[in-house]
Every structure is written in structure tokens, then in C-alpha cells.
């Protein structure tokens, strides 16, 4: 939207209204994390700023466009809107974005089929000129999260929007994540060049290897190569799609003796949040006794010797493919991440290879389900594939079910299963939010459009026969067996029959080398079941403000050592008084002005009438007395 007044500050104050569903609350916070990773926009709980976004469960999913400067600006995440990309979409509206296909140049890229649009809805397909919208020199973006889908407002089954390049027909209307152009546009609109949580991404395509350094205190070096005879045959970034390119770093075990090490350190990194997730792909073509150690080398005033701390040891059986790894770090000083290859026993050739490293100040997923030979599973007779069993951080055992047989859709469901901790756990399982992500394996975390959906266990939810849906699986589940023959009970599944389409799953980098990764996080979100409508007082204000309550959502602040109220106001209304107890509005002012005018007019009228009456009366009396004493003469002169 054109106009600087519509911009928000880079950190947007928000309130999550009590009306929001628990699942929606978690999803909204996840959407904020995507903003923090890919853009310079951050969010903070409202603490009295003049304008803020109040997210609530209204009817439907909607937002205003831009900062309306009305104090509390509402954004609705209603039933069915608790999807991360939908929240991203609505917040992009709030940040000042219109829909992509309303751009002035859209007719050059898509055709609107007017007779397929529902009667009375054609106005939704108007385009606007550059007095109202600015595309910021970014090309038309079919893959924008702000683009209508091809079926928007259709009156039948035929598409209402036809892309001029047919390949994009199934791209428009993606509700997965920001596109590259969405991010470019947002970062231009808000003049930003960095994000809060992104730190580093390296695919080793450039010879400078992203500023990584070889240690001088080890016995070997990592080498930048494009293939190794024993494997891998190609890097992970390009998977052999580009001849002559595609590099990774390799530690050749055959060139060193047992116990030899090679240390490769990242450039120096500066943390802001104090927690990090390191993600990379590893290929072991050597021995099962080889090891990759992940270290952190911290630089701080206290540690003059640049402390090297071992964070994780990774031992992997050579399986002939790239494998995804996550390592959680908690670093607060400037640091380097160090990859240490260690040659173990055994005479095999090959070695360790790493590629597509990403470091961000985000939470790592709790579990990774790596599905190999994925295309063989599509159309399998059983139709459903179950993940291995996993345990949540609270101790709940669970499985994920992937349904591949219901073409054209891929379904995904979460099942609680019986586990070792069941006697110690709370049942029905309360407020665990499960986030299931099909990973877009783009080498750069900022360019990924992973498909992510969440569900939350509601302990009060019941089934048709009166059982609690999330009760103990040994009580409400059905019996099944693990591949090793162990018996267990599986509860009912809860999820999405249309998690994504097969067509979309084949797009981008969801499938790479016939491998698919499903990332899983199960976290307790009970703490979100609290009210957040009071502004957070600043330090020191609390004591003086304890006995000084402001009415009508006013904020107590310290001014010259005294507690005072700052009262909320909008475009045409405000609260005033010592405690914001009085309400004012422009309408009141008009009413006062008009009533004053009328009153003055009435008073003046009364005074005039009285004056006229008195004058006339006096004149009449004088005339009568003169007439009585007068002798009339020459009456008929």
C-alpha cells in the first residue's frame, strides 16, 4: 500500500486474545518465528505502545491492510484459519500487502475468466494502479503467499484465474510459506538488511567456502570437492543436476592414520538470542567407526584461550546416502562452529562429507523421520506408512501416519501410542502441540517453503462413544505390532487428509534423491492458556502503579517520579482524566459546539423578545397617558 503512514515499527506489539484456540496460539507464535528468520520484522507482547495488533478468534480469517493507527487493530484467526501460512498471509496484509493478483500489471501474467466468478464477486478481481499499490520493482510473483488460488470465487469447477505460463497453474495460491519475492518486497518496504534469527547458510558452491577455516592444530584438512569415488557421487545442494558444479567438504580417511582429526571452523558468528539450531547433511562413505564431532569455539573476555567445547558426537553407519542432522547449541558469546572429522578403525576408503549447512537462532525440531525410496511408497497396497515410534519431551510415545494412497492428496496424522512412561503421565493428554513439517530441502534455509501444519491435544475432546480422544492408548487404542514383533496399542489418528498434494510434493525440493524428511516437534503449550491483555509494565513502574489503577485500558507510567495514566485513543475518540475515566470523541465536540450555538441563539432570542416586549409596553403606556390629557380640536377640520 502506498503511504508511509501505513508502516508499522520493525517490532510489532501484539496481543493474543483470550478467544483464540490453543492450537491457533501456537501456530501464530510459529508464524512469528518465520518472520524473525526471513525478514527484519519482529513481534513483542504489547506493553502500552499506541498501536498494536490484537489477534482474536473472529468469524473467518481477515485483516486490515497496513497500520491503520487506530490503537487496537484487529486481526482475525477464526475456525480453520490456524495454519501457519494463513497467519503469515494475514500479517502480510497488516504489514501493508494487497493480494498479488491485484497488481496493475497482472493482466500480463494471468487471465481472469469473468464468467466463472460467483455472481456479485467480480469486484474482488479488480486491479489497482500505482497510486494505490507499489510492486517495489519486484517481478510478478506466481508463488506469492498473497496470490489467490486458481479456484478463488469460482461458481463451478473451472478455474477463475488462468496463468499465462501454464506451469504456474498449480503454483498460485500456495499456502506454505513466504516466497522469495514476498521476502524481497517486505524487506524493501521496511528498509531492512538482516533478520533476528538467521545466522549462516553454506552450500560450499563458492571457493571461499563461506569464510570457513582449516585448523592448524590438527592432522588433516577438509577438501572442497564435487565427488568422491567411494561416494557421494554428487553434492546435496544440486544432487548432480548441474554438471561442473555442486561442491561439498570431504574428510578423506584413507589419507590419514587412525585417530587423525581434521577441524573445519565456521566464520565468527554473533548470537542475539542465546540458542541456536545447526542443521547440515552428512554422508559417510568410510567406516562405522569414523566420527564427526561438533564443537563450539567461544570468544569472550572470560575465556582468553578461546574455549573449545564438544557439543555432539555423531557416529553413523555408512548407508550410501546423505543424512540430515540437527544439533542444538546454546551460545551467548561470539563463536565459531567447528566440524571435527575423526578417523576410526577399519581399512575402508572414503570418508566423511558435509554439505548444506544452516545455522539459525531457532528451535531445532525434536525428531526427524527420514523416508528413503519415497516414490516406491506411492500407491503401495497398504496406502499408509507409519513412522518409527518417538517420545515427546514430556514422555508421550507417538507415531505419525502418512497416507499416500488417496490421490491426489497426501494425508498425515498424529497417533499417541502406548509407551514406557504412561503410568507417570497425565491422561487425557493435555495441550501438546504437534507440528509436522515436510521439509523443502533447498540448501538455503531462507529460501525454503516447507509445508507445516499443527494440531493440539485437547484433553476435553471426546469421541462418538464418549471416550476421551486423547486418553491413554492402552485404554482407547487398538493393538498393533512393531516390525520386531513387540505388541503395542495405538490411539486414534488426528490430522489432515489433505496435508499437501502429490503434485506439490514433487515440486521444489521436497523430494531430493528420492528422500523425504518429515520434521516433528511435540511441545507442551499449556502456558499459552493464560490471559495476555494487560500491558507489561516496565521495571520500577510496577510498585508506584500498584495502587494507581487506570481505567479503560489506560497504561500507568512514571512521570517526574509520579504515577500517571496514559489513556488509549483512536482516530476520533479518546479517554481523558486522571485515570482515563472520561471518554471523549470528535462527535462529542460537534455535539457540544452545536448545542452551545443553539443555546446562545435561544438566549439571544429570549433577550430580544423581552426587550421588544418591554419597549413596546413602555411606548404604549406613554401614548395612552398623553391621549387622556389631550383636548381634541378641529376634529373635522
Amino acid at each position: 500500500i502506498v503511504g508511509e503512514s501505513y508502516r508499522w515499527p520493525h517490532t510489532i506489539p501484539y496481543v493474543l486474545d483470550d478467544s483464540l484456540e490453543m492450537n491457533a496460539r501456537g501456530v501464530i507464535l510459529n508464524a512469528f518465528e518465520r518472520y524473525r528468520l526471513k525478514t527484519c520484522i519482529d513481534f513483542k507482547p504489547w506493553s502500552g505502545e499506541p498501536n498494536y495488533i490484537s489477534v482474536f478468534k473472529g468469524s473467518g480469517c481477515w485483516s486490515s491492510v497496513g497500520n491503520r493507527r487506530v490503537g487496537k487493530q484487529e486481526l482475525s484467526i477464526g475456525k480453520g484459519c490456524d495454519r501457519i501460512a494463513t497467519v503469515q498471509h494475514e500479517f502480510l496484509h497488516a504489514l501493508g500487502f494487497w493480494h498479488e493478483q491485484s497488481r496493475s500489471d497482472r493482466d500480463d501474467y494471468v487471465s481472469i475468466i469473468w464468467d466463472r466468478i460467483i455472481s456479485g464477486k467480480k469486484n474482488n478481481f479488480e486491479s489497482y494502479d500505482d497510486r494505490q499499490t507499489d510492486s517495489l520493482n519486484v517481478p510478478y510473483d506466481y508463488s506469492s503467499v498473497m496470490h489467490y488460488s486458481k479456484t478463488a470465487f469460482q461458481n463451478g469447477s473451472e478455474p477463475t484465474i488462468v496463468t499465462r505460463i501454464p506451469d504456474f497453474m498449480d503454483v498460485i495460491g500456495q499456502r506454505m510459506d513466504f516466497s522469495d519475492s514476498d521476502i524481497l518486497k517486505l524487506n524493501q518496504l521496511y528498509n531492512c538488511s538482516s533478520s533476528l534469527s538467521f545466522m549462516e547458510s553454506c552450500d560450499f558452491e563458492l571457493e571461499n567456502v563461506c569464510g570457513m577455516i582449516q585448523s592448524s592444530e590438527d592432522s588433516a584438512d577438509w577438501q572442497r570437492v564435487s565427488q568422491v569415488p567411494e561416494g557421494p557421487e554428487s553434492d546435496h545442494s544440486n544432487m548432480g543436476r548441474c554438471k561442473g558444479s555442486g561442491f561439498f567438504m570431504h574428510f578423506n580417511r584413507s589419507s590419514v592414520n587412525e585417530g587423525a582429526t581434521a577441524m573445519l571452523g565456521s566464520r565468527i558468528l554473533y548470537p542475539k538470542r542465546g540458542f541456536q539450531c545447526l542443521q547440515f547433511f552428512l554422508y559417510n562413505s568410510g567406516s562405522e567407526y569414523d566420527q564427526l564431532n561438533i564443537y563450539v569455539r567461544e570468544y569472550s573476555a572470560a575465556s582468553v584461550n578461546r574455549t573449545l567445547t564438544l557439543v555432539e558426537e555423531i557416529k553413523d553407519v555408512p548407508i550410501g546416502s546423505w543424512q540430515l542432522y540437527h544439533v542444538t547449541l546454546k551460545v551467548t558469546n561470539k563463536f565459531r562452529v567447528v566440524f571435527g572429522g575423526v578417523r576410526g578403525a577399519g581399512a575402508s576408503r572414503g570418508g566423511l562429507s558435509i554439505d548444506d549447512i544452516n545455522l539459525s537462532e531457532t528451535q531445532c525440531p525434536h525428531h526427524v523421520w527420514h523416508i528413503r525410496n519415497f516414490t516406491q511408497l506411492i500407491g503401495s497396497p497398504s496406502g499408509s506408512v507409519y513412522s518409527p515410534s518417538f517420545y515427546s519431551s514430556k514422555g508421550y510415545a507417538f507415531q505419525i501416519r502418512l497416507n499416500l494412497s488417496s490421490l491426489p492428496n497426501v494425508g498425515m496424522y498424529f497417533h499417541l501410542i502406548s509407551g514406557a512412561n504412561d503410568d507417570q503421565l497425565e491422561w487425557p493428554c493435555p495441550w501438546q502441540q504437534v507440528t509436522m513439517t515436510i521439509l523443502d530441502q533447498n540448501p538455503d534455509i531462507r529460501q525454503r517453503m516447507s509445508n507445516k501444519r499443527s494440531i493440539t491435544t485437547d484433553p476435553f475432546m471426546t469421541t462418538g462413544n464418549g471416550d476421551y480422544f486423547w486418553d491413554r492408548p492402552s485404554k482407547v487404542g487398538v493393538q498393533d505390532f512393531f516390525p520386531n514383533g513387540t505388541q503395542f496399542q495405538r490411539g486414534r489418528g488426528y490430522g489432515y487428509s489433505v496435508f499437501m498434494t502429490h503434485e506439490r510434493l514433487k515440486s521444489r525440493d521436497f523430494m531430493k534423491g528420492d528422500d523425504v524428511y518429515i520434521l516433528l516437534t511435540v511441545e507442551d503449550i499449556s502456558h499459552l492458556n493464560t490471559t495476555q491483555n494487560e500491558p507489561t509494565p516496565t521495571l520500577g513502574v510496577n510498585d508506584l502503579c500498584t495502587n494507581f489503577k487506570c481505567e479503560n485500558d489506560g497504561i500507568c507510567i512514571l512521570h517526574n517520579g509520579k504515577a500517571e495514566c496514559r489513556c488509549p485513543s483512536g482516530e476520533d475518540w479518546w479517554y481523558m482524566g486522571e485515570r482515563c475515566e472520561k471518554r471523549g470523541s470528535t462527535r462529542d465536540t460537534i455535539v457540544i459546539a452545536v448545542s452551545s450555538t443553539v443555546a446562545v441563539f435561544a438566549v439571544m432570542l429570549v433577550i430580544t423578545l423581552v426587550s421588544v416586549y418591554c419597549t413596546r409596553k413602555k411606548y404604549h403606556q406613554e401614548t395612552s397617558s398623553k391621549t387622556a390629557n389631550m383636548t381634541l380640536e378641529n376634529q373635522h377640520a
Binding site: G60, V65, S102, A152, R175, G464, F469, G493, S497
Partner: protein, 43 residues
């Protein structure tokens, strides 16, 4: 009725934002934009 083995949150339909709002009978600008008097565009 017995509850099926799996429960579909979306009822088997992948509803876009505009479909959700349409089903609710909302008449929002371009399907999901709330306009106020000041910014009203010619629709």
C-alpha cells in the same frame, strides 16, 4: 456412531482462506480484507 480410526481436522477439504470466509457468509473486500471508511477503494 463409532468414531473412525482417524479424525480429519479439515473434514477432507483443503479450504483456502477465501473458501472459509465464503462459507461463513462474510462479505470482505477481496475475500479477507477489512476496509474502514478512510481507505475504501472503489469496489
Amino acid at each position: 456412531l463409532p468414531t473412525p480410526e482417524i479424525f480429519d481436522v479439515d473434514g477432507g477439504i483443503d479450504q483456502d482462506i477465501f473458501d472459509i470466509n465464503e462459507d461463513l457468509g462474510l462479505d470482505l473486500f477481496e475475500g479477507d480484507i477489512r476496509l474502514d471508511g478512510v481507505q475504501e477503494r472503489n469496489s
